[in-house]
């Protein structure tokens, strides 16, 4: 006896097995991101508005990423509809576009991460704070392209753009040099963790779609209905990833 309802839906529930399985999985993913979002809310409210940075993330880049992901959500469901309409070439086209959009999303995210990792804050012996991007670093000096600020609090808000000039900091005068990574403060910790986990899910989606586009698409010839179901549940996962971003983007970039 073979496992029934892998392709045809079961009459009384109206769904096939993989769809139930995927929605159950998405429910657990909702609780996973829920735990993280509730942590974010708690930590941010506890910090108080004056301690929370604003303007540290690029809204234009975030908006572009949001639109890319929204578009990919459309193309992924059109890929499924093409399968349902037995238009295999159309499926390949839309699925391929989905993969490309996801890769561009990850590329932009990677660029955003790199701007953070190369952005440094140096505390000097005399109490001044230098803030800027790393130009070069040697045994006796650290060179940043940025500015001096009087106290750390002022870094929490967008400042009127002073001219960013090259600052040379003698290594002997530098007390601490930290990059804008997750260890710097709670905002960055939350940002990297949430977007990092989301990015891993995007990557997972890319891997699955690449399989369904490439070697996995052989199933189309022998069992197109089963293949269509796989495309549908993969699409459901992708929509969930998009949903998470729909909340992540405003929560981190806009508020």
């Amino acid at each position: 006896m073979d496992v029934p309802y892998t392709v045809q839906p079961r009459p009384d529930t109206g769904v096939y097995n993989a769809k139930v399985g995927m929605w159950l999985f998405l429910a657990s993913e909702a609780m996973l991101f829920g735990g993280l979002f509730s942590s974010y809310i708690l930590l941010r409210v506890a910090a108080g508005p004056e301690n929370w940075p604003q303007g540290w993330l690029s809204v234009p880049l975030g908006t572009i990423n949001t639109i890319l992901l929204a578009l990919s959500a459309i193309t992924v469901v059109l890929a499924w509809a093409a399968c349902k309409a037995r238009m295999f070439e159309r499926y390949k086209l839309y699925q391929g576009i989905t993969i490309l959009l996801a890769i561009v999303f990850l590329g932009i995210k990677g660029y955003e991460y790199s701007t953070k990792f190369t952005h440094y804050q140096a505390v000097m012996k005399d109490g001044r704070i230098a803030d800027g991007h790393l130009v070069r670093r040697s045994a006796d000096a650290v060179v940043l392209r940025g500015e001096f600020v009087k106290d750390r609090k002022s870094l929490l808000r967008p400042r009127a753009q002073a001219t960013h000039e090259e600052i040379v900091l003698p290594a002997a005068d530098v007390v601490s040099l930290r990059s804008y990574g997750p260890a710097m403060n709670t905002f960055l910790a939350v940002y990297f963790t949430l977007t990092g986990l989301h990015g891993l899910h995007v990557l997972g989606g890319v891997v699955v779609f690449a399989y369904l586009w490439g070697p996995g698409s052989r199933l189309w010839k022998t069992d197109p209905d089963r293949f269509t179901n796989r495309v549908e549940v993969a699409g459901l996962f992708w929509h969930f990833v998009d949903l998470v971003w729909i909340f992540l983007f405003p929560a981190l970039y806009l508020t």
Binding site: M1, D2, V3, P4, Y5, T6, V7, Q8, R10, P11, D12, T13, V15, Y16, N17, A18, V20, G21, L24, F25, A27, S28, E29, M31, L32, F33, G34, G35, L36, S38, S39, L42, L43, A46, A47, N51, G181, P182, A183, M184, N185, T186, A189, F192, T193, L197, T222, D223, D225, R226
Partner: protein, 602 residues
């Protein structure tokens, strides 16, 4: 409901197993997708972990009764593995904490839950609902493999420098984060793997129950065991992810230097910690207990399911109050999400929120009592067969009763002030899990052994196993209530000697009688260990040499798993069974036998 073939033939449904002749050792026993093999894999692995966790406990009890003395027999081994923290074979406080943390973690996450849900759930659910396998056979195999690797990581942590995690199975930050070894990191990675296994498994069980019930098997004709597994799987599905998120955050704290759970101004060892601060230790507790409370219902629900099956079968009458049992199980599942902060009464929460959680905690005791009452009333007027599984199942009723009742003073925040973090808590939860769940897991092994192997376990030695275990379980855990009420705290590596009245002379210090009980408990633990020997021998001997069962249904049961060949082959049933009646049609008036299997036509 129609039969299952589709126009496109066999390729449209998931293939269960390659043909018998082609399958080699690896695909038949190691990489099998058959739910019965996966169930047995879970069973063997979890029993080994239970044994290992038990050994940790025996060493801890020695240290508690004889603080600072070399552990007999295994002292040199400890010294060679752990080095400094076990010098001269003495369990140092650090090592004691490590054993304590790993005992809890291993027993719960690597022992009881994989046995109750992974082994029993995987093996029996498809059989009891008349399905050929789980809905996702390959996912099933994968879920076992994740569990296995999670276990490997947890075990590996014993051998790294500095030893394993030491901050309790509850891993509270900042302690867990600031202990300067990698044990906690291994714990977190292990937990992520175990949680993944659990999620895949629960998706599988729930989908299987929803989608693969045989024709005629409506929801209210399901055996109570299936309802219990269904509810437990939902708890695992929705409650584990917040712990996973907390685990990710703590992993970031340990590895990436973040401060999710580290507050501003944290001082470690008298020095200001070099962290960004701004985190919250309470946040960890909320996220942890959001899982860990439903987790305890995952520990008990499958056990209640097994007890129900065994009692129905050995009383030869239907269970009393089937509908009440089902709705109570669902209510327990639902309410269990809303009680978690009763583990946090002493964190300084406000009175309103404490009252909320206290109320929900009291409410959840109601369905638990309903279930126990239904099972108890089921015994009324019954023709009870006192075989070994029934003995264990019957013992569950008073043992779980004690465990449950002793939970009440802990659930009220006023009395919890006195009892929180004392041995009373340890007594309470062990009563529920050890003479509670674990007894039932034993019962299930004796009960379903004939179906899995085609042979019977020896009933005489089973009774010896039962009575000895029953005696020693009670001698171990009953004194803990006394110790807890006297004020003995948990997790004290010296068994409380530093707080003894003899030592401090203070009025409220621990009386010598409380400390003396540590010796009683140690000997009872040794007795419990010895009591398992007949079981282990019986188990392995009977697999090869036990008397063959008289039929496919030696217990004369009504449920579907007994209406298969022994052991069930691939695909379980030759064609989907059709179900005509409920699961406990015993002693039906006028029927020629005292049981009426679910799938037997009129």
């Amino acid at each position: 409901m129609q039969s299952t073939s589709t126009a496109l033939g066999a390729t449209t449904s998931a293939r269960v197993q390659p043909h018998e002749e082609e399958a080699g050792f690896w695909s038949k026993y190691i990489f099998s997708v058959d739910h019965k093999v996966v169930g047995i894999q879970y069973g063997i692995t979890s029993l080994l972990f239970l044994f290992f966790g038990f050994s940790l406990m025996i060493m801890m009890r020695w240290q508690i009764a004889h603080p600072g003395e070399t552990v007999p027999l295994v002292g040199p081994l400890l010294a060679s593995i752990f080095g400094d923290i076990a010098s001269r074979g003495v369990i140092s406080p650090d090592l004691y904490n490590a054993f304590g943390a790993m005992h809890g973690t291993i027993m719960i996450f690597l022992g009881v839950v994989p046995l109750a849900v992974g082994a029993y759930g995987n093996y029996l659910v498809p059989l009891q609902i008349g399905a050929p396998d789980m809905a996702f056979p390959r996912l099933n195999m994968l879920s076992y493999q994740f569990y296995f690797f999670g276990g490997v990581v947890m075990l590996a942590s014993f051998f790294i420098p500095g030893g394993p995690a030491q901050a309790g199975w509850t891993s509270y930050s900042p302690l867990a984060t600031s202990i300067p070894n990698h044990g906690q990191t291994f714990w977190l990675v292990g937990m992520v793997l175990i949680i993944t296994s659990s999620l895949l498994g629960s998706v599988n069980i729930i989908t299987t129950i929803i989608q693969l019930r045989a024709p005629g098997l409506t929801w209210m004709r399901l055996p109570f065991f299936v309802w219990a597994q269904f509810t437990a799987s939902f708890l695992l599905l929705l409650a584990f992810p917040p712990l996973e998120s907390a685990g990710i955050l703590q992993l970031m704290d340990k590895v990436a230097g973040t401060s999710f759970f580290l507050p501003t101004g944290l001082a470690i060892g008298g020095q200001l910690a070099n962290v960004s601060g701004g985190g919250s230790p309470l946040l960890w507790q909320h996220l942890f207990w959001f899982l860990a409370h439903p987790e305890v219902y995952v520990l008990i629900l499958p056990a209640m399911g097994i007890v129900a099956e065994i009692i129905a079968n050995n009383t030869r009458k239907p269970l009393w109050g089937y509908k009440s049992l089902v709705f109570s199980a669902l209510m327990i599942g639902f309410i269990s999400f809303l009680v978690w902060a009763h583990h946090m009464y002493l964190t300084g929460m406000g009175t309103r929120i404490s009252a909320f959680f206290q109320t929900t905690t009291m409410i959840i005791s109601i369905p638990s009592v309903v279930i126990l009452t239904c099972l108890l009333i089921s015994l009324w007027g019954a023709s009870i067969r006192f075989n070994t599984p029934m003995l264990f199942a019957l013992a569950f009723l008073p043992m779980f009763g004690i465990g449950g009742l002793t939970g009440l003073p802990l659930g009220f925040n006023a009395s919890d002030i006195q009892l929180h973090d004392t041995y009373y808590v340890i007594g309470h939860f062990h009563y529920v899990v050890a003479p509670g769940t674990i007894f039932v897991l034993f019962a299930g092994i004796y009960y379903w052994f004939p179906k899995i192997t085609g042979r019977q376990m020896n009933d005489y030695w089973g009774r010896i196993h039962f009575w000895a275990s029953f005696l020693f379980m009670n001698v171990i855990f009953m004194p803990m209530f006394v110790q807890g009420l006297a004020g003995m705290l948990r997790r004290m590596s010296d068994g409380g000697h530093n707080y003894a009245q003899l030592k401090t002379g203070a009025a409220g210090a621990l009386p010598q009688s409380a400390l003396g009980l540590n010796h009683v408990i140690l000997w009872a633990a040794v007795g419990l260990a010895l009591a398992q020997i007949p079981f282990i021998i019986n188990f392995f001997y009977s697999i090869r040499k036990g008397p063959r069962t008289s039929s496919d249904n030696p217990w004369e049961s009504t449920t579907l798993e007994w209406q298969t060949p022994t052991p069930p082959g691939h695909g379980n049933f030759a064609r989907p069974p059709v179900v005509y009646r409920g699961p406990y049609e015993y002693s039906v008036p006028g029927h020629r036998q005292d049981f009426f299997p679910q799938n037997e036509p009129e």
